[in-house]
Symmetry: C2
Subunit: 293 residues, 2 copies
């Protein structure tokens, strides 16, 4: 399983490298260097992996899905750069390296995020992504929905609000469905769009992604509570220290682990209609549970 | 002329109001309030006006062009919110009111900009904008180009770089072509796209918009140098105080005014093929020269 994640991550890395070329010189070159610092050379690339794997269920060749996968990862990277800003989570470390505003400066980090967000849509709208413009529009709309007020940005708004400390379990689940779930669901949905999937298959993949996304976030909480900053490549214990309500805070370590296991089972069940070709997606669910970083 | 700008600004305002509805309650409602604070109730709406007027040349009804005009204005507003941030220009006042990070806080201002940028693409990709998906993809691609490294973000990168102090006249012109020109050109080009314009007509509108955009920026420099903060609704003299090279610094007040006049003449010449229907765009060029705010 890990081998296969690594393999796809290398494909995505190469695609991002192609899509974010350096201008020859000048101040725009420095900015693009920072964009490449933010987007290249790190991360599990879980979201583009889910997209590529979902697309493969419908026999979409990698070459046809890779630009969309890279655009999705650009959106993810933009959100990390802006979330790390001093005014947001004020993080110094990301993927084992200084965050963009630490390695460069704060204004560069704002522009790097803005540029990755803009470029994600530029990539999707380009005819090179898919010959059918109606399909490209659906990809653009889907990414905008996952990134917007009903997705990642809405989740950040909830997360930054004072009320975060008082969230009960359903509230935390809703927050995570916005903040991380929406883009994970969109990754699988984009694979289905590229594969011209039937509605029932798309819905099944969405159920898989919703359960997987929540399990992923609970394991994040567990890793944060268990606290191996070196393996994670970022500081640990920040949420609890900031008085934020977490899954572990509500369920305890054992309860949170059981909940994650249930969700992984539910994710795998959702894949039943796809039979053996969905084996990698099943293994991905198991990996989410056992990952150490 | 001013009447007509005011009329279209009201149409754009109403469209933005529709496109940015408030959620019922909770932290996402507060964020959307800040989004509406940033996008509604101010500004000349010059860019959407240019889009509507360009579209009218090709007999596109306002109802068909308004969503695109609003999306363009969202992109413009996002750029203002992020440019005003403490890490960027650190501005307290915009359109006569506290900037978003002053009226709310810095994290809200980051998210407000991110959301307006995301929403602009969501609006363009939606079938309600135009029934032809290929045309919608061209609008998305155009806006992303104008907003990206070859447009506004590239311009900001140049502007923030230390070298700005040493820019000669061609360098300042290039900076402004990126920073403000690209979106003004895209406004006219989007009107042409919506109107299924011939290539020659599109090129003529681009020449108009390039000259107009540069004239607009030179007049901005003049207004900044002459310094009526109340009329402008923002602080004056900031560029000069920051040691940034400006048109007025290089050409003097008289020379800068002459250069703006030449550009406005050139802009009007570019409209010759369109005859009388382009009269409003001609008057817009004159207005750019005589505006006091």
């Amino acid at each position: 399983m890990l081998e296969c994640l690594r393999h796809d991550a290398a494909l995505v890395e190469a695609e991002l490298d192609r899509l974010l070329p350096l201008p020859e010189r000048g101040p725009r070159r420095r900015l693009q260097e920072a964009v490449r610092y933010a987007a290249l050379g790190g991360g599990k690339r879980l979201r583009p992996f889910l997209l590529l794997q979902s697309a493969r269920l419908f026999e979409v060749p990698d070459a046809r899905a890779l630009r969309t996968a890279a655009a999705l990862e650009m959106l993810h990277c933009y959100s990390l750069v802006h979330d790390d800003l001093p005014a947001m989570d004020d993080s110094d470390l990301r993927r084992g390296r200084p965050t963009v505003h630490r390695a460069y400066d704060e204004s560069t980090a704002v522009l790097v995020g803005d540029n990755l967000l803009t470029e994600a849509f530029a990539v999707l709208a380009d005819p090179a992504t898919h010959p059918d413009p109606a399909l490209r529009c659906r990809l653009v709309a889907g990414l905008a929905r996952a990134g917007g007020l009903g997705g990642m940005i809405g989740g950040q708004a909830i997360d930054l609000a004072a009320e975060r400390a008082e969230l009960e379990l359903p509230g935390i689940e809703e927050l995570q469905a916005f903040k991380t779930g929406a883009l994970i669901v969109e990754a699988c949905r984009a694979g289905a769009i590229l594969g011209a999937a039937e509605e029932a298959d798309t819905k099944a993949l969405e159920r898989y992604a919703q359960a997987l996304g929540l399990a992923f976030q609970i394991v994040d909480d567990l890793l944060d509570a268990e606290g191996d900053a070196t393996a994670l490549g970022k500081p640990v214990g920040q949420d609890a220290a900031a008085g934020k309500a977490t899954f572990v805070g509500h369920l305890g370590v054992e309860g949170a682990r059981r909940r994650a296991e249930e969700l992984v089972d539910r994710a795998k069940e959702a894949l039943t209609p796809f039979g053996p070709p969905a084996e990698t997606l099943r293994q991905t669910a198991d990996f989410v549970l056992t990952r150490r970083a």
